[in-house]
């Protein structure tokens, strides 16, 4: 890149980061306000209803509840930036520690699911576009449409019913069989990686048998979205003049489609894949409940059902951060990779 171009890039990147910071601030504001709407006394929640008056008062001052609202918010933001989301009423750990513990499980699930969605979704979309309006296209489109119509938790239940209960092809709910607990030292927290790295292949196989069904269920939705967007992008590209040129050159149709047309689609597709990943975080909330998967989604719902507001808000902020982060990354990636944006 020339210096002028890199200056342009830096300037736009900085502008982007500033915008992101503002959005993050707004996110904190929303969660802060939600926290204030709760009809639960946060002091009581912290000290219990048997505590004497002095303890109550002390904790109240500690939590800064005597200060004006905007000061409380400033405190809130400061704490958030340090990763202090308060303590979980349920587990008595800091919310941050809890999240650190549960997050890798969700990461594992979302990643395998997205991989499935990409590996199956992109070829499906290309196929649909190349055979537009013929039966291959109709099949892909209907499959995609179903992905927008099926409740993820119901599909999970049906999956368990069929593949676990009736066919016994996969393991049941949970992340790992009880027999394999604690056999693998947690390095990354992602069991598939940790077990592979340590050569514990039996654990790997069991982990795989556990993750494949929930990942496939989530992956279906990823596939629906990715194939739909791929199809749409490819149809647009196959109409372009450079595709005609490629054919004039006498290139095989395969090369024209996969090298030329798809090449022009990769960049917007990256954005789609990232968005799909972010959307899966939403789907994982319900999937984790169905599969008793100890991830962030289950953490949030459990905390919710137990009125643990700190945990709920902390988890929400975490998800929000990931969402913003993914969007930011794709934006930067876009500018980096597309030669026209340079």
């Amino acid at each position: 890149m020339t210096t002028a171009a890199s200056l342009r890039f830096t300037r736009s990147a900085v502008r982007l980061l500033a915008s992101v910071a503002l959005t993050f601030l707004g996110l904190l504001l929303v969660t802060f306000l939600i926290g204030r709407v709760v009809p639960i006394d946060p002091v009581l929640a912290a000290v219990g209803d048997r505590a004497p008056a002095e303890v109550y008062e002390r904790v109240r001052l500690e939590l800064g509840l005597d200060k004006p609202l905007y000061e409380q918010f400033a405190l809130y933001v400061l704490k958030a930036l340090q990763g202090d989301f308060g303590k979980s009423v349920l587990t008595s750990n800091t919310v941050f520690d809890d999240i650190k513990r549960v997050f890798p499980a969700t990461l594992e699930l979302a990643t395998v699911a997205t991989l499935l969605g990409v590996v199956l979704g992109i070829p499906a979309g290309v196929l649909a576009a190349v055979h537009q309006d013929r039966w291959q296209d109709q099949v892909v489109r209907v499959l995609g449409l179903m992905g927008y119509s099926i409740p993820v938790f119901w599909l999970g239940l049906m999956g368990l019913l069929l593949f676990y209960a009736k066919l016994d092809w996969v393991a049941g709910p949970g992340r790992l069989g009880v027999a394999f607990d604690d056999l693998v030292a947690p390095i990354t927290g992602v069991i598939l990686i940790d077990s592979a790295v340590q050569g514990e292949w039996e654990v790997f196989a069991d982990a795989f048998r556990h993750v494949i069904l929930p990942a496939a269920v989530l992956g279906y939705f990823s596939l629906a979205y990715i194939s739909r967007m791929t199809r749409s992008f490819m149809i647009e590209q196959l109409r372009q003049e450079y595709v005609v040129t490629a054919r004039i050159k006498g290139l095989s149709e395969r090369r024209v489609v996969w090298r030329h047309a798809l090449g022009n689609v990769m960049v917007p597709l990256l954005t789609v894949i990232a968005l799909s990943y972010a959307n899966l975080l939403e789907g994982s909330v319900l999937t984790e409940t169905v599969f008793a998967w100890p991830g962030l989604g289950q953490y949030i719902t459990n905390s919710l059902l137990n009125a643990d507001m700190n945990a709920v808000l902390g988890g929400t902020i975490m998800v929000g951060i990931i969402f913003i982060g993914i969007n930011l990354l794709t934006d930067l990636l876009y500018r980096l990779v597309d030669p026209r944006a340079r």
Partner: protein, 291 residues
């Protein structure tokens, strides 16, 4: 007279649309030898469609039929996709109008050119690259290396079009179809590109089909001119004999051209006679739709 490279007899292109069939090309017949033939017409006259039909590159919603479509020994109508792929690029090539759109925006120009060569010859990457650089030099690029490494959007219109020419002529085809090759360029650059095209075509003894809406340009550049209107050829004549055109449409076109040495009070406006779009009686067959 050179031997006939291309014989076209009763070529038709038809599209099925929601409002009914659209006949883009309606029974076009001509031959092309090792000469420069121009096809002139306004938008919608079917001239571009004719060019694409020859290479069988009409969009899938269109149907191409012809009594005869022959290129040297290849029957283009009967050929399967495999044969057509051998013909395309290697024996018949085509240059499109706007390099901004006709070149792949995410591939370097050099890679695209080299790709064209490697598609038809068992070439190593380095050899194809060298050939591309040589061809870029022959289309008078001042810095072939820089152009090779550039992306299409980094080139000016003229450079992009010259790169296209390098890409299409490098495989030494016998026939080149140029679909409005200079219409997207500035007038000064037009002349440059045409000169290069002229030189290359003449020195290789190729046939050229030059499609354009610009009658003046075609007349000055080509040996023969075919005038198209509403999907039909209404007149065929040699460029030199243009002023003696017989068909009222051609005459109208000529009259509409402003001339610096004959200032007129009012520019003549072309008036269209629906009869020009009608099927000439001797060409009607039982399967033809009534015009």
């Amino acid at each position: 007279m050179s031997e006939q490279l291309l014989t076209v007899d009763d070529l038709r292109v038809e599209y099925q649309t929601r409002k009914g069939p659209v006949h883009a090309v309606r029974g076009v017949s001509f031959t092309v030898g090792r000469e420069k033939v121009g096809i002139v017409g306004e938008s919608g006259s079917g001239k571009s469609q004719t060019g694409r039909a020859i290479l069988r590159l009409v969009p899938p919603t269109g149907r191409v039929t012809a009594r005869r479509l022959q290129f040297e020994e290849v029957d283009l109508m009967a050929a399967d996709e495999r044969t057509m792929r051998d013909v395309r690029g290697k024996r018949i090539a085509m240059v499109l109008q706007d390099p901004k759109f006709s070149l792949n925006p995410v591939m370097t120009v050099g890679r695209q050119i080299a790709e064209a060569y490697r598609a038809h010859a068992d070439m190593r990457r380095a050899a194809a690259e060298q050939k591309a650089l040589d061809m870029l030099a022959s289309v008078r690029m001042r810095d072939p290396r820089r152009v090779y490494d550039s992306y299409p959007h980094e080139l000016s219109g003229g450079m992009g079009q010259r790169a296209m020419i390098a890409m299409m002529l490098g495989t030494e085809p016998d026939l080149l179809i140029a679909d409005e090759p200079t219409s997207a360029l500035d007038v000064t650059v037009q002349m440059q590109v045409l000169a290069i095209l002229d030189d290359l075509v003449t020195e290789r003894g190729m046939g050229l089909i030059f499609i354009s809406h610009d009658l003046n340009l075609v007349a000055s550049f080509c040996d023969r001119v075919l005038v198209m209107y509403a999907g039909r050829i209404v007149e065929q004549l040699s460029a030199a004999a243009l002023s003696q055109a017989k068909h009222p449409y051609t005459q109208g076109l000529l009259a509409a051209l402003p001339r610096i040495d004959q200032p007129t009070h009012e520019l003549a406006v072309l008036r269209r006679d629906p009869a020009w779009a009608a099927e000439p009686p001797e060409r009607m067959t039982a399967t033809d739709p009534v015009a």
